[in-house]
Amino acid sequence: MDFTSLFTWVPGPQFLFAQLLNGLTRSMLLFLVSSGLTLILGVMGVANFAHGSLYMLGAYGSFTMGTLLGGAPSSFLLAVAVVPLAIALVGGLIERLLLRRIYEAEGVMQILLTYAVVLMVADLVRLIWGPETRGVPKPTVLAGAVTLLGTIYPSYNLLILILGPFLAFGLWFLLYHTAFGKVVRATALDREMANALGINVPRIFTLVFMLGAWLAGLAGVLTAPIGAITPTMDLSIIVESFVVVVIGGLGSFWGALLGALIVGVIQAFGILIVPRMALISIFAIMALVLILRPWGLLGNPRALLAR
């Protein structure tokens, strides 16, 4: 066996290209989670620690869907349609039953409340689905691979890669070109004024929270066929999404997209340099951003002062 080849191995351009695609796939999933996180943060001023838990519930929901339907070809499509809606309902319940009671309380209590949900969901998931790692098969149509610029790449990952920008566009359209979006942005800007102008602020809060939960649930469903479904996936995603939000700027929609792209790609390449500790490479970036631009790349310095 030729050991020297291990040390002189230099990744070829095809490998690097595949790794870039991997990073971008991860970016798209990260964007789905962090856009919801940043939306809830921007509009409601609540840091929803339970956002990673909703994502995890989405992945497990997809697993349950698969077992219920016995792996029918359409089961994945059904999971994409149904599970995120169910997660949105869970989110709506969290907002209605828990968060609503303490909007008047100190920020500390709001942080602690969503944290309590994280703790409970973490154990509920172990209770319901067990501690073992679960998996969902890829939909049969997308199980193959395609050749892209000479690189063989799984079609499923490519689908996410294509889906991401569409979802980003849809979200942008919803926020900036519909009446609902206008109301949401008005509420984010000045809650009291919006209220005075006749906007039903509590209803907007519920809807925004449900939208964020839907996005997290969708990301969970989409990640299920390509990642391991474990009871600890809530924490890794919430930490990464937080890094995304800090890098991009608190409450900034485009910041979430930019941050997700940066974090996903850097992680994909960081893993080549320090295997198994890719988290550290994105932390270095975050530390840099925090020192140079504490309000994030696309954030608003005033928003930082207000919190």
Binding site: A47, L98, I111, L112, Y115, L119, V246, F283, A287, P294
Partner: protein, 328 residues
């Protein structure tokens, strides 16, 4: 002032020592764990209650305290007494480094960043098998011969915890502690009247980290082992629940919370493995219905019963309880 402090200290040490003599091995171990967790919770509440900072990475410092001792003892081979002194210092230095980044942020951002840093420290410990032993931890730690008999170690724990507890009490009741509370109540006003908010936050973060390191060190020596789980976020959740359940705006609240949560955990561990679910439920109920905590509510009730107008500073009220109550 000093004389009354020394008096409280003596009473607390004597009472705890007498109690520990009455206990069997199991209950002594439980008692030591309670005391160590009480110190850990007190260090945490310095951030949460006194300064209004919600840290989700505090357990990392608890772990670093234990691991510094363990690594020095097994990899470097320095004498145990030196390691005991170095462990809290090293922890405080790491807290200083982490704090340098974290205290720039406020509210939720601070919380998330501490969570992130805590996870990094945990991940490094968990994955660096060749150095930290990964999830196997480091077991069979050497201890100074004097501290090997459980009775002697109990005295050592009582001595250290009571001393640290009184130091923290004095800190909370010093002008420094007053400044922390002003920052908690209104950061902008604190800045206007010339309080260097960021610097004080960094100092309190470092101090809290250092005391958490002492607690971690005591815990490592108690069981003669360290595991990455000591610094896992669930450990922070535990200390958070202790503080909140006991009452974050009282000095002794975290001690009471540490007692309840630790005993509950010992008792409940035989029935269920879903400890986080229980912690989460307690936390949820506390936030929604019982934000004052046990000691906070008791104080409130006492104040109503005693009728005279409330003292201008809430600190005066609990001063009457004094350090003697450290017994918890």
């Amino acid at each position: 002032m000093w004389r009354s402090g020394a008096w409280h200290w003596l009473v607390a040490v004597a009472v705890l020592f007498t109690l520990s003599l009455l206990l069997g091995d199991f209950y002594r171990h439980l008692g030591m764990t309670v005391l160590i967790m009480a110190l850990f919770a007190l260090s945490y509440n310095l951030l949460l209650g006194e300064t209004g900072l919600v840290s989700f990475g505090h357990a990392a410092f608890f772990g670093v305290g234990g691991y510094t001792y363990a690594l020095l003892a097994t990899k470097v081979g320095t004498p145990a007494l030196v390691n005991i002194v170095l462990a809290p210092i090293a922890t405080a230095l790491i807290a200083l480094l982490v704090g340098y980044f974290c205290v720039r942020l406020h509210g939720i951002l601070f919380s998330m960043l501490t969570l992130a840093f805590g996870q990094v420290i945990y991940t490094v410990t968990f994955q660096w098998y060749s150095f930290t032993g990964g999830d196997n931890g480091i077991v069979g730690l050497p201890a100074p011969p004097l501290l090997i008999p459980p009775g002697n170690y109990a005295v050592f724990v009582i001595f250290v915890v009571v001393t640290c507890g009184i130091a923290l009490w004095r800190l909370a009741h010093s002008p420094f502690g007053q400044a922390l509370r002003i920052m908690r109540e209104n950061r902008e006003r604190a800045e206007f009247i010339g309080i260097p908010v960021r610097r004080l936050r960094l100092i309190v973060f470092t101090i809290a980290g250092g005391f958490a390191g002492i607690a971690g060190l005591l815990f490592a020596l108690l069981n003669r082992q360290v595991f990455p789980d000591d610094m896992y976020w669930a450990q922070t959740a535990q200390v958070l629940v202790m503080s909140l359940l006991g009452g974050i705006f009282t000095f002794l609240g975290p001690v009471v919370g540490a007692f309840i949560v630790t005993v509950l955990q010992y008792w409940i561990a035989t029935y269920t493995i879903y400890w986080l679910l229980i912690l989460g439920t307690i936390l949820l109920l506390c936030v929604l219905f019982f934000p004052q905590g046990i000691v906070g509510s008791l104080q409130e009730r006492l104040k109503h019963r005693l009728a005279p107008p409330p003292s201008p500073s809430p600190l005066k009220g609990e001063g009457t309880g004094g350090g003697g109550l450290v017994v918890g």
